[in-house]
Symmetry: C2
Subunit: 336 residues, 2 copies
Amino acid sequence: MKIKKQNLEKMLIKIFMKHKLDKDHAKLCSDALINAEFVEAYSHGLSRLKMYCDRIQKKLINPKPKIKDIKITNSISLIDADNSIGFVAADFAIKKAIHNAKKTGIGLVGIKNSGHYGLSGYYAEQAVKKNLIAMIFTNAPPAVAPHGSLKSLFGTNPICFGCPSGSKIPFIFDSSISMINRGKIRFAARENKKIPENVALDKFGKPTTNAKRALQGVQLPIAGFRGSGLAWMVDILSGVVTGGNHAGRVKDPFDDFSGPQNIGHLMITFKSNIFNIDFNKRIKENIKIIKKLPKIKKVKKIFYPGENKFLKFRKNKDRLINLNKKTQQELKALLD
Amino acid sequence: MKIKKQNLEKMLIKIFMKHKLDKDHAKLCSDALINAEFVEAYSHGLSRLKMYCDRIQKKLINPKPKIKDIKITNSISLIDADNSIGFVAADFAIKKAIHNAKKTGIGLVGIKNSGHYGLSGYYAEQAVKKNLIAMIFTNAPPAVAPHGSLKSLFGTNPICFGCPSGSKIPFIFDSSISMINRGKIRFAARENKKIPENVALDKFGKPTTNAKRALQGVQLPIAGFRGSGLAWMVDILSGVVTGGNHAGRVKDPFDDFSGPQNIGHLMITFKSNIFNIDFNKRIKENIKIIKKLPKIKKVKKIFYPGENKFLKFRKNKDRLINLNKKTQQELKALLD
């Protein structure tokens, strides 16, 4: 079944409002989910809708959060998200980080008592549109084993960096430190599809391409000890520093209903021309030089991070949105 | 030949002073090089001494730099290092970053017109000792091909993150985004040793374990497009943002005497307890939990980043320092 964006948006807002979110918060959630569908990050889109609603119903996500905005300095803020849905916490926080950077040149915002917020790049984009550079870190439920250990503890802990590109398409690097996004494994498990080789082990430590077995096992970090170190860094920046959960205590939103997630995030923003240079001119030149490099066979074009997602967004934004059977059933049940 | 630390230090200071550095700058350089030997990062130690001296003699490194400390705000500074040797620029900059963070909670310091400064972790440690969190980025001469391209352009562009660990040994993650440090390939080439498989290609794009051929070819980034994206991020943060060279224009210090390097660095520092938590208590717990995880076969202990280097430092710091023949000859020639 295919559906118009406007109609899907109405349905999603209705569903979130039925789950007691205010209208503006419901709209934020709907926007983030639809954006994920447009950029074809399906693992962060509608496939998560039921999970969010389940957690609200079980009182693990607070639909009416009293978000505390704790001012540390004009540059630095701590946001206590009061177990809000992650989308709402992250949107509040990036706006604060933008405000602080615009006012003082730099913003540092820690967020605690938050939840899964979808794609980091979605928030980085907001800052980039204001001519800021943004770095965003978040931890996540255990998925990746620390180097040398047999047990998952780190999340896929994405590292996100965004900056203006000097053109319409922002430079947004947003990558998990695992060989594969956990959401992609979930999505494959849901759709009964295989996952690539060498990205995960089953619970006995054996390599597997079976998505369900991979979910019970361990995901592999990129580049051994280097990826493990990056994951540890992200756990410290987003969890240890902010007062959020850390060291494997972030609960899996799909499987663990024993309490709220209390995910932590950290956002760093600063003015791209803070050091008295013409950033847009310099980055444009940087990208131009790299794009002109000789290419390996079969590569027609070198893309900068974020370009691909943007092109998908542009391709899809005026088209009908495809709803698979499972999603149709879930939407129907949530609307009833 | 083995030599006492004190005697090596005297020799190095004498050599740098002969090359017109002030005594305090000569001492800084000597300290950094000896530290690299102690932590067994030989590619960043004495094997580079002659290169630094050559570049001073060819007037590509300025032995008497007039370093400009440009205040942007109380948190933010731009350092124009006036083509100083990298050690001097980085030491000046980290002290500024510490000062700014102590004063306002956060420090952001951009450095331009700098050069190769050895190990990022060496500077991060200074901030960590003051209970700060530090992130340090620097670009470097072309070594790694952007994803999809056939030509080296990114440096090995290390990402460095340091924080207190709640114990004597600081948490210092300091990793290049290439499969192998370029310094290690240089060191292998110098010593006629092989390099591991799957870390580099020769100039024709073929895999090689020959260090000299690898230096003429391309190094592989970690994790394909992810490592390439991280390298690009570091080039932007350290080069594009600061006014330093970028997009492959940083000159190779060993091979290219056509001008100064104009490397850029970026340092971000902030108070570890800025969000009203007891950071040392939380990080201690974090590390304890991870160290207690079940281990894979033959792994006796899980190390956190920086622990291994610190243990090497402790083991070596009171021992005699080994000088190989080539280094002995170089030292002798530089002292003559």
